[in-house]
Symmetry: C2
Subunit: 191 residues, 2 copies
């Protein structure tokens, strides 16, 4: 078991549940069962650890969603799978992603509330990657090319809305509502 990975994993769990600024380094060390010297052997600063944690979550979440979408045909099936996946996540049916506490990237942007900051930009980059997964589904539907980006953003908006509704307002059916709306909206574009 790699100590570096252990630190990232423990840090993520604590950050995700309590927020980044509310978690101190000593707490991470205690949880991970790792000495302070070891942390600073792998990372130059807390900031670097945070960056590594964001990257870790990016890879984990993206590869999870991508692999789920690969199980079905792009387009109709893919979009259903997208919202089903979010529904599973919200309702804690995905062990891999830890207990649902909202979107880690939205949460992190809320704490590092400045688009100039590298960590904020990492979060934006993650969202762009997720958007590209959605865009692939939209293209497969045969939507007119000039509308592709607009429709992709609209589906992304529904997905983000579902996550926030589930997190802040506790609506565990939000992903289903978003899915229903997605098909109503898409029908208008496909007619």
């Amino acid at each position: 078991m790699d100590k570096r990975q252990q630190l990232i994993h423990s840090a993520f769990e604590l950050f995700y549940r309590n927020g980044i600024h509310a978690v101190g380094i000593n707490q991470i060390l205690q949880t991970a069962g790792v000495a302070k010297k070891t942390l600073y052997h792998h990372f130059a600063s807390k900031e670097e650890l945070i960056a590594a944690v964001v990257e870790y979550r990016d890879e984990k979440f993206y590869s999870w969603l991508a692999s789920r979408l690969e199980l079905v045909k792009p387009g109709y099936d893919g979009l259903n799978e997208l919202f089903d996946a979010v529904d599973d996540w919200i309702n804690n049916r995905v062990d891999l992603l830890s207990d649902f506490h909202g979107c880690f990237f939205i949460n992190t942007c809320a704490e590092f509330n400045d688009p100039q900051q590298p960590i904020y930009q990492q979060c934006q980059h993650h969202k762009k990657k997720i958007n590209s997964l959605i865009e692939r589904q939209i293209r497969a539907l045969g939507i007119l090319e000039p509308a592709t980006h607009h429709v992709t953003d609209s589906i992304s908006l529904l997905k983000e809305g579902a996550i926030v509704m589930a997190h802040v307002q506790g609506d565990l059916t939000a992903a289903n509502k978003a899915k229903d709306m997605a098909w109503i909206v898409l029908a208008a574009y496909l007619s």
Copy 2:
């Protein structure tokens, strides 16, 4: 000028821009131009100040939105106004609300990531109040009663999605996209 209000105002501006945990009391005192003793005369702790700041923003935001909705007829006009208001907010055309840095309540839930916490519940309560404004519009549309709550949640989801898209992904047209989707979805319920 009331010192208590001055503290709340300065604290809000700092919290909204930098996150709550990232802002120290001394920073608030310096910005507000107030002595430490005065702060602890009005508030028992930082926690109490935070609660007062959330309440302050709740009142300010709610009354702003409510008053905008009162200018138009409930129903069709009201829903258009809702998304126009969010669009104005996102694009910094509302001086009253300070520079857009996402939804303060979503951001705060991200930092106090536990539904048991009073501050988290204050944020949930704010969202319920906003939902009631939306529900009034939905009822005026003449939607079948059993669907009212479901449709209200759906519109709320679109609104939250727009805010997050604007904040995290920098899509300043998100509110317009949400408005378009709202009418497509509502048309399906009204037919």
